[in-house]
């Protein structure tokens, strides 16, 4: 079996969440690769919608680093306005999306706006971009993020992208028309959300990771599935495809730039 990086494992896990024929709102960074991987494996009929105002149903003719790269526009299925892409989302036409975050809590609420540390220092982050929209309006969304204790907190400092709020019934009360986080893919494991309590539940741990490590990096007592598994490793085929799309390992290699 080929050796792989944590990012490659995460992208592979993300790609597997896309069903064939689904409309996928493709976010920045790792999700770009996850969508391409799904298209080239089990979900050839998946369609990608990009916030720049792009719809694609075929892979770009050469690797791209970001969605605005010109190969991503070549022979696109639609080039339109950001508003048109967001309209598909707001209508409920988007089945699945992927977002990241700097902070997350047990209900999948995400913060990418501002961190307040205990000594009163604020750290300003880039903001929502489309993340809040995807969290509010996609049929379901997957969260991909680094698993660190400062990120997995009891309560996020700012709700940029609503998850399940304070738990059961909260989204309905706030008037969110649909959706909610379907899972979290971290550098250590994969989580889903309990259908009743809406709390994050550990479904799988990545190879060579143990439960204690996950608990140590999580700011609340982790709920664990009765059927806890080991996250399946990327297959050789998946790795080959990923490396075709990220030949220099910019997103999935050890050289990947980490940022909040």
């Amino acid at each position: 079996m080929t050796a792989y990086t944590a990012a490659e494992l995460m992208v592979t896990a993300a790609a597997r969440k896309i069903r064939n024929g689904e409309i996928v709102f493709v976010g920045m960074r790792l999700p770009l690769l996850g969508f391409l991987l799904a298209k080239c494996t089990h979900a050839p009929r998946a369609v990608g919608v990009y916030e720049l105002g792009i719809v694609r149903d075929n892979p770009s003719p050469r690797p791209i680093l970001t969605m605005g790269d010109l190969p991503n526009l070549y022979q696109a299925a639609w080039l339109a306005d950001t508003g048109d892409a967001m309209a598909l989302l707001q209508q409920g036409a988007v089945d699945i999306s992927f977002i990241g975050g700097a902070q997350i809590d047990r209900y999948g609420n995400l913060n990418t706006t501002v961190i307040r540390s205990s000594n009163g220092i604020r750290t300003r982050l880039p903001g929502s971009g489309g993340a809040c929209d995807l969290a509010c309006l996609a049929g379901r969304h997957m969260i991909i993020m680094a698993h660190e204790k400062r990120r997995f907190v009891a309560r996020v400092d700012y709700v940029t992208s609503p998850g399940f709020g304070r738990g059961s019934g909260w989204r309905q009360q706030r008037g969110l028309p649909r959706g909610g986080p379907a899972g979290v893919i971290t550098t250590l494991g994969c989580f889903s959300f309990d259908p009743q309590t809406r709390e994050m539940v550990l479904d799988s741990v990545h190879p060579d990771v143990d439960l204690e490590t996950i608990q140590a990096h999580t700011g609340w007592p982790v709920a664990v599935s009765d059927r806890l598994e080991t996250t399946p490793a990327p297959t050789d085929e998946e790795l080959a495809i990923l490396r075709r799309f990220d030949p220099d390992g910019y997103w999935t290699g050890p050289r990947r730039t980490e940022n909040a």
Binding site: L65, D69, Y74, M86, L89, P126, G130, C136
Partner: protein, 303 residues
Amino acid sequence: MPESKLMTMVEAVDRFVPDGSEIALGCGLETCIPFSAGHELMRQKKRRLALIGPISDMLFDQLVGAGCADRIRAAWVGNVITGSGYNFRRAVESGAIDVEDHTNLTITMGLRAGAAGVPFMPTLTALGSDLLSTNSQLKEMVCPFTGGPLVAVRAIRPDVAIISVQRAAASGGAHAWGNLGVSREACMASRQVIIVAEEIVPEDTICSDPNRILLPSFRVGAVVHEPWSAHPSPMPGFYNRDHQVFLDYQQASKTPPGFAEWFSRWVVGVASRTEYLDLLGNDRQRQLMITHSAPSVPVDYGY
């Protein structure tokens, strides 16, 4: 012959962007970002600008670093392929700038309201988020038909939009293609529009395809001929994204002295876009130029 609106970037920025302007730029989000206009704003030491755009890749961070802005109305400010914008972060943390936090959808709806000439537009996004409590331009409201909760986004009407496009005529008619981001809304919502074009073409070229015209030319104040205006962002039909510049800028901007060095070399160290391109070098430009041509199949507007 329609009136010519051709002028230099120096003149356009001087005339149409007074200090304190609310300015939309980077409306392609990642493509066609008018970096050359941004650098001229910095050279002319514009102050107290409000910057408007969902995401302007790293241009907003540069303008903040240069001290041009005191307010940002945006969904995301950083550097798309590397993450955080360090000048932005420092400026917010020190209180030097105010941020009106949007999402891509709320800012789009705000610009669409401005473009449509209505005082607000409703959206379903941001319900349950903290944006509603920190951005006064978003208000929860009740739908007059369904009775359900909605978010009203106040109309955004920039004083000026600066848009980098592929080709324009002297009159202001302009063709833009590729992903358009919020360019159309921003043009229609703004009181004044500056078009920055890779090529100046005859009026007939523009009128040969009126569906591709970005906005009626009577809404355009200035047309600036400036090749490579969007570098290092990509310009469909002309050049690819120059990723290395974004990586280099990330490194440079981590500290104020690093940013100052970048600024003195790439902005005030050059008097114009021509000098910037000389500094960049011909080889670099050649590497970025599109090599796989993919022309559109024409259509007929005859009678």
